[in-house]
């Protein structure tokens, strides 16, 4: 079995992989959710857009649920500190996510225009609010969150809900919203017939442009304006998980330390920008299939960029920087990490295999003609 430090590093990579899996999979249905009211103008057009995601959103969402479970099992301190600290933001996120299952299952059950319009709004919020909040949360990680631990080692959060709405965090929210709308639009351009595909491609192009602009501005902001966290001295990567033993200094630009010491890592933000530009170009050229790959590369490299910048921090503290959580001092025991690693290695490939099979069964475009024959099995 790998040693404790390696296990922690592997689990940081798994967390990244789960986040990327979530963005790639649930990202497109959140993106379609956020934009289908505008891409689809008639009830039929909207139904076609929704039918493109209805059979798969639930499986996709498990990437998010599993992400939560994995944080609980592998980083219990992070799970405890972040979810209780972001209490009202989490509540808002939960309400938005709850709107989705009921929206999908209930919308088509009744034909009345007001009923459908109500659920269309619910699904729009259910797509846009989480997409925005994930980015806001990441933005706040760069800023650090005001928390510390009391004598029982209970996480105590000293900020409020509105403290989360720092302009940089809102910019990060825009990055993630634009990114997922882009991804969802590319999926719609690929999966749905005309005229929705054409409109979705246009929305996707705009979203890609907004993403590039917001991502670049955020990068400049991180370089110059935001205090990055840096651990002083040598870190004990093998020690028991205790976040109270280190010293941290906050220096502007320190979030770029990892890029400066390993220049190859600049590829991640580089690819993020290039792939988004490529998505835009491919959408214009009518190559939605290739655009989907490019959009996926954008998502993956954006998440990698954030992860590399923050590494080894999971959740920096702005009020007590020394008590911020890192991958070395907030993990589960080596035994739990090892057992969970085996579970992931055994079961995740099985999940990927049957997910691929399900998508293959569901292949083909949803057109206005194809949905006219039935009222929708949901």
């Amino acid at each position: 079995m790998p040693d404790y430090a390696t296990l922690r590093l592997i689990w940081w990579l798994i967390l990244g992989a789960l986040l990327i899996g979530f963005a790639l999979m649930d990202g497109f249905d959140l993106g379609v959710g956020a934009s289908f009211r505008f891409v689809g103008r008639t009830d039929e057009e909207r139904r076609a857009l929704l039918e493109a995601i209805e059979p798969v959103w639930d499986g996709n969402q498990v990437w998010f649920i599993l992400g939560g479970g994995a944080v609980f099992a592998a980083w219990p301190l992070l799970y405890a500190a972040s979810f209780s600290g972001l209490y009202l933001a989490m509540f808002l996120l939960l309400i938005a996510l709850i709107l989705r299952p009921v929206g999908f299952f209930y919308r088509n059950k009744i034909e009345a225009a007001r009923w459908r319009s109500l659920w269309d709004w619910a699904l729009t919020l259910g797509g846009a609010v989480p997409a925005l909040l994930f980015g806001v949360a990441f933005g706040n990680l760069f800023l650090g969150l005001p928390f510390h631990f009391d004598e029982l080692r209970r996480p105590v959060y000293t900020g409020g809900f509105f403290g989360l709405l720092h302009p940089f965090a809102l910019l990060a929210g825009l990055v993630s919203l634009a990114m997922l709308v882009m991804h969802g639009s590319v999926y719609a351009a690929l999966k749905v017939g005309e005229p929705m595909a054409r409109r979705a491609a246009a929305v996707g192009g705009w979203a890609a442009a907004v993403f590039v602009a917001a991502f670049v501005v955020a990068g400049i902001w991180v370089t110059n304006g935001i205090g990055g966290h840096r651990i002083d001295g040598v870190t004990d990567t093998l020690g028991p998980s205790n976040p109270l033993l280190k010293h941290v200094t906050v220096v502007a630009g320190a979030w770029l330390d990892n890029f400066r010491s390993h220049e190859l890592l600049w590829l991640a933000p580089g690819i993020a920008v290039l792939a988004a530009a490529l998505t835009w170009a491919l959408l214009r050229a009518g190559r939605a299939g290739l655009a989907f790959l490019a959009s996926g590369a954008t998502l993956a490299s954006t998440i990698l960029t954030a992860g590399i910048a923050l590494f080894p921090f999971l959740m920096p503290s702005s009020s007590h920087p020394d008590q911020g959580l890192t991958i070395w001092d907030a993990s589960s025991s080596a035994r739990t990490l090892a057992i969970m690693l085996i579970a992931v290695l055994v079961f995740l490939p099985i999940v990927l295999a049957y997910t691929a099979w399900v998508f293959r069964v569901l292949r083909g475009r949803i057109t206005l003609e194809s949905i006219r024959g039935h009222t929708g099995p949901y």
């Binding site: 209805e54 059979p55 798969v56 639930d58 499986g59 969402q61 498990v62 649920i65 599993l66 939560g68 479970g69 609980f72 099992a73 219990p76 799970y79 405890a80 500190a81 972040s82 979810f83 209780s84 209490y87 009202l88 989490m90 509540f91 939960l94 309400i95 996510l97 709850i98 709107l99 299952p101 009921v102 299952f105 059950k109 029982l152 080692r153 209970r154 996480p155 105590v156 020690g239 028991p240 998980s241 205790n242 589960s332 025991s333 035994r335 739990t336 057992i339 969970m340 579970a343 079961f347 995740l348 999940v351 049957y354 997910t355 399900v358 069964v361 569901l362 009222t375 099995p377 949901y378």
Partner: protein, 511 residues
């Protein structure tokens, strides 16, 4: 210090959201299994009516499934939002089954549920049946992992406190996995879910037969529900999870409270069928007792005693005194980890640390606790006897009534006599709410009966809460109540609308 307002509000929110979630879970468990049975008959006989039955009940399944998924998201994240100290204290053990649940069960159920609805034309008959079976398997597996996690709260095996990290850590995963309480709970809970599904199908079919509508589908549905329901309702009662209750002190306390057994009796103990437990006076008024029965149920023997509440409180008192030592030693270790004397003292009393923590509700430093505070803490290990006593009896009463219902249904189905016995159809229809009441009361007995512990003997509930402002919890609980109530109205409205239209009235899949 702990803010008790946050404790009460967080407990209320957890209870409300969990009980609400469990209105939908058992129906998902039961209906998915019934869908598999109906579709299997379709695949084997090739008769179209069984496909339409699967699709009709599948439609109702979907309306319910959406609510199950929606309310389940809250549960996964509520430990972190409202029970942060709990999450930190036991996440090393408790998080693992939750994550594995996502990996092995929730993925399975959620990935294939889309194909259940959208795959009828895209898959072969057998292929679609396999998909339906995987959905059912996924939901039952999901219950397995959640109950492994829950059983660990009732009977925390395979874990030890680590003084370096100040939390519980896993020592044996296989002990957590093969926890005897988990096995008893799984069989009992899943069978209860199957009963809920069966009563749902039985009651709605009875309503159709009473109104002379959809007769062919209703007759067949009733036959399926009657046989499956009879087998499952027998399992629920015979394999009740009381067998797992003897595994630990707190579980013994739960049994003593359920039976209102204030004083230990010589074996085999008598069973109190009826009475009015008085929590203040520590006695039960107007008791009606059956000799021997409790000893048989609880210990499956005639020579082992069932411990009474007074004796269990005395044990708790001893453990609290030992827990005070453990807590003091831990405080010393926190300041000076190399303190050998403190470590030795901690090792001696470590198993009682949780009992020492009980005192934090009454006093900042357990070492300064007065005898009165120790007495209060010892009696705080007794759950609400009257509530447990009655919830348990109503649950068992409903269980027995449902066995009678299914047995009658089975007899009538075998003789094709449903239509001649309208009294039975009415009884079946009005039984609709019963299994839900029993299932919810079962959780009240299991979880309210676990109090004052979040983790039996390890972590008191009040200590597990997050350090969040009471106003935030008040806001979220109000939000959940309003939002969930609105969803409940929509859910019931849609179900009623679809049921009233019936399989014949729905244009969905009729060719």
């Amino acid at each position: 210090m702990i803010d008790l307002a946050v404790v009460h509000l967080s407990r209320m929110q957890f209870a409300l959201t969990a009980l609400y979630h469990f209105l939908f879970v058992p129906l998902t468990l039961g209906l998915s299994m019934l869908l598999v049975i109906m579709e299997a008959v379709y695949v084997m006989t090739g008769r179209e009516i069984w496909k339409r039955m699967t699709q009709f009940w599948g439609l109702l399944f979907g309306i319910n499934f959406a609510m199950g998924v929606a309310t389940g998201i809250t549960m996964e994240f509520q430990f972190g939002t409202n029970w942060a100290y709990y999450s930190h204290y036991v996440g090393d053990i408790f998080g693992a089954p939750l994550a594995i649940e996502g990996l092995t069960a929730f993925f399975l159920e959620s990935t294939f549920v889309g194909l259940f609805f959208f795959g009828w034309e895209r898959l072969s008959k057998v292929g679609h049946l396999v998909v339906t079976a995987l959905v059912a398997l996924g939901s039952s597996l999901s219950a397995l992992w959640i109950l492994i996690a829950n059983a660990w709260m009732q009977h925390p095996v395979g874990a030890q406190f680590n003084t370096d990290t100040m939390r519980m850590e896993l020592t044996s995963f296989s002990q957590v996995l093969f926890n005897p309480v988990a096995q008893a709970k799984f069989v009992h809970t899943v069978a209860a879910g199957y009963v809920v599904g069966s009563v749902f199908v039985l009651a709605i079919s009875a309503w159709y037969l009473l109104h002379g509508r959809n007769v062919e589908i209703a007759r067949r549905s009733m036959a399926v529900a009657a046989s499956f329901g009879l087998a499952c309702s027998l399992s629920v009662v015979v394999l009740g999870d009381e067998s797992g209750y003897m595994a630990s002190e707190n579980q013994k306390m739960k049994v003593a409270a359920i039976e209102a057994e204030w004083h230990t009796e010589p074996a085999p103990a008598a069973f109190t069928v009826f009475g009015f437990p008085d929590d203040a006076a520590h006695t039960t008024h107007a008791e009606l007792r059956v000799p021997w029965l409790l000893g048989l149920i609880a210990t499956r023997s005639i020579d082992q005693p069932v411990l009474g509440i007074y004796d269990l409180v005395a044990r708790a008192r001893t453990r609290i005194r030992s827990g005070i030592e453990a807590h003091a030693a831990l405080a010393a270790l926190r300041l000076r980890p190399e303190d050998a004397a403190a470590r030795a003292l901690f090792e001696e009393h470590r198993n009682d640390l949780g009992y020492g923590l009980l005192l934090l509700r009454y006093v900042g430093d357990p070492a300064r606790a007065t005898p009165q505070q120790i007495e209060a803490a010892a009696w705080s290990t007794v759950p609400d006897v009257a509530v447990l006593f009655w919830c348990f009896r109503v649950m068992v009463g409903i269980g027995l009534a449902l066995i009678a219902l299914f047995a009658t249904a089975f007899y009538l189905a075998a003789r094709h006599r449903f239509l001649r016995h309208r009294w039975f159809l009415r009884a079946a229809f009005f039984s609709l709410p019963l299994p839900w009441i029993a299932a919810e009361l079962g959780w009240v007995v299991a979880e309210y009966g676990r109090q004052p512990w979040a983790i039996d003997g390890v972590l008191p509930t009040f200590l597990g809460v997050s350090a969040v402002p009471a106003a935030s919890v008040l806001l979220s609980i109000s939000g959940f109540v309003l939002f969930y109530s609105a969803l409940a109205v929509v859910d019931v409205y849609l179900l009623a609308r679809m049921i009233r239209r019936g399989p014949d009235g729905l244009g969905y899949w009729t060719e």
